[in-house]
Each structure stands twice: as structure tokens, then as C-alpha cells.
């Protein structure tokens, strides 16, 4: 399964490198989102300062949506995804691979956004340990939930389910936990972060598990 995963991840990342979507398009978009937030919430630094954790993660979530859309579109064109199924790749592996590729791109974007938050919102990144731990766990959660969501959205073309309605909000808890954990980290009270980190870890495990087990079904329905 992990062989398949690395194979698929490698393929997706190569496609991304080829089309330079992440570096040339999503990344500037990410920075832009920060700017727009700053716009939307008055130039009153008070808000920006307090909200910076939340805004950071919101930006990440929006990038997730874009990255995942792209990752799904790649498989729809010329039925490439069907080709992978025909090759007999393990669905779990395919899921992991695509999620890993998305996660890799998100990680890159988070570094960028982190820098952006520091420069634009004047946030000080206290307690890097907590922040990084949060980032890792949250990224896994987002990438997996997103990849699963993409599969559903793809299969939506055929059977008109209302699944997205149920599935999209799974991102919300991750966002909440990540935000709270970062707020704790930024405020320097790492102890508060622990419980949130545990929650994030739980989500990550859950979504990985659900994805690995359920992706086959989602795939076959499309």
C-alpha cells in the first residue's frame, strides 16, 4: 500500500511541478488572502493581532480547497483516475498518495503564510514547537478530509448526493482546534495547547483511517 502511495504522490507532485500551479498560482493567492483579510477587517491592528491565528488557518483552509480541486481535476481529465483503478493500485494507497501530495503543497504554503503573518500582521511566532506540531497534525487532517471530499465531489457528477453538505464542515473542527492551539502557542501558554493538539491528532488519525478504508468505495461510485 505504501509503495502505491509513494508512487501516486510522486506522480502528483511531478504534475504540480510541471504546471507550476502551487508555486506560481496558489502561493500568491495565499498571500493575497492574508491581504484581503487585513482589508476586510479594518486597519485596526487590534483585531488582526488577536485574530492572526484564526486568519492564518482560514487562509490555509482556502488553499486546501484550491489544492484539492486541482488534485481531483487531474484525475478526471481523460479518465486518468479510472486508469489508476485499472492498474490495480490499492485505493488506500491512492488515497494516501494524493493526500500526501496535497499535504506537501500545504506545508509549503504554510511556511509562506507563516512568514506573511509575521510581516503583515506583526505576529511573533512564540513557542515554535507547539506551532509546528499543530501545523503537522492539522495539515494531515485537512489534506485527508480534503482528498476524501474531492472524491465525493467527483462522484457527485453521477449520483446527486448531498454528501458535500455533510462533508465540508468536517474541516471546521480542524480549523477550530488548530486556531485555538496556535492562539495558546502564540500566547506562550503551551499547556493550554496540549488538549487541542490531542484533538487534532484524533482528527488526523480519524480522517486517515476513514480515507484509507472508505476511499475505495468513493472511487468505485464515481
Amino acid at each position: 500500500m505504501f509503495r502505491d502511495a509513494s508512487l501516486v504522490a510522486g506522480k502528483d507532485l511531478r504534475i504540480e511541478r510541471r504546471s507550476r500551479v502551487t508555486t506560481q498560482q496558489i502561493a500568491p493567492f495565499a498571500v493575497l488572502v492574508l491581504v484581503l483579510f487585513a482589508f476586510a477587517l479594518d486597519p485596526d491592528r487590534g483585531v488582526l493581532g488577536r485574530a492572526s491565528a484564526g486568519l492564518f488557518w482560514l487562509a490555509v483552509v482556502f488553499c486546501t480547497v484550491l489544492a484539492v480541486q486541482r488534485s481531483a481535476a487531474v484525475e478526471v481529465a481523460d479518465k486518468a483516475g479510472e486508469g489508476m483503478r485499472l492498474a490495480g493500485l490499492e485505493p488506500g494507497g491512492v488515497f494516501l498518495g494524493k493526500a500526501m501530495a496535497v499535504a506537501a503543497q500545504l506545508a509549503l504554503l504554510e511556511v509562506l503564510l507563516g512568514a506573511g503573518v509575521v510581516v503583515l500582521y506583526g505576529t511573533h511566532l512564540h513557542d515554535p514547537v507547539v506551532l509546528v506540531a499543530t501545523a503537522v497534525l492539522a495539515t494531515v487532517g485537512l489534506a485527508c478530509a480534503g482528498t476524501a471530499y474531492a472524491a465525493v465531489a467527483a462522484s457527485l457528477r453521477v449520483g446527486n448526493t448531498l454528501l458535500p453538505l455533510l462533508l465540508l464542515p468536517v474541516l471546521a473542527p480542524v480549523l477550530l482546534a488548530a486556531t485555538r492551539a496556535w492562539e495558546a502557542g502564540l500566547a506562550g501558554v503551551s499547556s493550554d495547547a496540549i488538549s487541542w493538539l490531542e484533538l487534532l491528532a484524533a482528527f488526523a488519525v480519524l480522517y486517515v483511517a476513514v480515507g484509507v478504508v472508505g476511499y475505495g468505495t468513493l472511487q468505485e461510485e464515481s
Partner: protein
């Protein structure tokens, strides 16, 4: 060719002049020596405006079928690159100035934000120019984008009026004898503007030549490609 060298010389002279005059500026009470930025920062910003204006104009000339020349596309591209450069310098000098005066490198002031926006928009313009495509296609598409993008300039210029802001008002626009800016500040600012503009024009001319040279190289490459393609016929 000679004229270009003259242009370059003039640019250098005026630039040095600006520096001298700028350093000569008296240190004002509230700003101390930082007020000398006045000789640099606004001129940079205005030159950026000019550059983007030129890009838009050249683009319109390209889009208009009668006046369509590959050169206008080259000019548009070169001017946009320089505009981004000058905008970047504006941002840098601005935040260098902001640190001592406002106590922050950056704040969500309208003027600052719209400037940043201007920067991003034209980065986007250059990014899409980078994508592989046939010359004509790239030229037309870019021209369209340039025409749409240029509205950010007036927005930026008016932003200080439209939004309450920390940033200086349009003092020159509302300049009258005995206004708060005193004589040699204005002189420095104007000389600086002249210097920047000359530098800009000089760089523009040279950069345009380079871009056109690159285009010629592409032409030669095409000739070879055509020959190779014709060979395929013999193969079958």
C-alpha cells in the same frame, strides 16, 4: 544609440544631484533626518505610476489593429517589469520611513495596502507573461490584462482621499504658495522625480531592445524547427 548614452548620462547626473540635494535637506523637528526620504520615496512611487501608465498605453496601441506592432508589446512588458521594480522600491523606502515615523514597518493603511495590491497585480501580469505560448497570443492576452490592471493606479493615488489614512495626502496636487512643505523639499522631490523618470526611460529603452533581441532569437529557432518538421515528411 548615441541618444541612449546621453540619456543614461543625464539619468546618472540627475540621480547624483538628487542624492546631494536630498542629503542636504535639513533635519525637520518631528522627523529628524528621515525627512530626507522625501527626495526618494515619492518620486519612486510616481515613476512606478508612469511605468504602469506606459504599459497600459503601449497595450492599447497593440490592441488597436491599425497600430499593432510587436514593439509595443515589448515596451509594455519592459515597462511593467520596471514598474514592479519601482513599486518594490517604494514599498521598501516606505516601510523604512514608516518604522521611525509611525513606529511600524507596515500597517493596514489604505495607501500602503493599495500599493501592495498594485505590486501583486503586476506580479501576476508578469507571471502570466512567463507562461509558454505563441508570441501573438501572449501579446494580446497580456495587453488585455494590462488595460484592466491599470485602474489600480488612480485608485492608489486617490486612496488617501477615499480612506482616512496615516499616509501623507496628495500634497503636490493641493500645492499652493506657503503650504506646509517648504521650498527645497519640493525642489528635491521634483528633481528626484525628474531623475527617476530619466532613469526609467533609459532602462526602458535598453530593456525593450533586449526583449526584441530575444524575439529575434525565437525567430531563428522557428526556422530550424520548420526545417526539422519538413524532414518528417521525407521519413514517411
Amino acid at each position: 544609440m548615441k541618444s541612449v548614452r546621453v540619456l543614461g548620462a543625464l539619468a546618472v547626473v540627475t540621480l547624483t544631484g538628487t542624492v546631494v540635494l536630498g542629503l542636504g535637506l535639513p533635519a525637520t523637528y518631528e522627523q529628524r533626518t528621515y525627512s530626507r526620504m522625501l527626495a526618494l520615496h515619492p518620486p519612486l512611487a510616481w515613476t512606478a505610476y508612469v511605468a504602469f501608465g506606459v504599459t497600459a498605453a503601449a497595450s492599447i496601441l497593440y490592441l488597436w489593429p491599425r497600430t499593432r506592432r510587436a514593439r509595443f508589446d515589448a515596451v509594455a512588458a519592459a515597462s511593467a517589469e520596471l514598474g514592479v521594480l519601482f513599486t518594490g522600491l517604494t514599498l521598501i523606502t516606505g516601510s523604512l520611513w514608516g518604522r521611525p515615523t509611525w513606529g511600524v514597518w507596515w500597517t493596514w493603511d489604505a495607501r500602503l495596502t493599495t500599493t501592495a495590491l498594485m505590486f501583486v497585480i503586476y506580479l501576476g501580469y508578469l507571471a502570466q507573461r512567463g507562461l509558454a505560448d505563441t508570441a501573438a497570443a501572449r501579446a494580446k492576452r497580456s495587453a488585455m490584462i494590462a488595460v484592466m490592471a491599470v485602474i489600480v493606479v488612480p485608485i492608489n493615488h486617490m486612496s488617501v482621499e477615499w480612506w482616512r489614512t496615516l499616509h501623507q495626502g496628495r500634497s503636490l496636487a493641493s500645492l499652493k504658495p506657503g503650504s506646509e512643505l517648504d521650498g527645497d523639499f519640493i525642489a528635491a522631490m521634483l528633481l528626484g522625480f525628474l531623475a527617476m523618470t530619466l532613469t526609467y526611460v533609459w532602462l526602458l529603452v535598453m530593456r525593450t531592445k533586449v526583449i526584441e533581441a530575444e524575439a529575434d532569437l525565437e525567430e531563428d529557432a522557428l526556422a530550424d524547427a520548420i526545417a526539422a518538421r519538413r524532414q518528417e515528411a521525407l521519413a514517411t
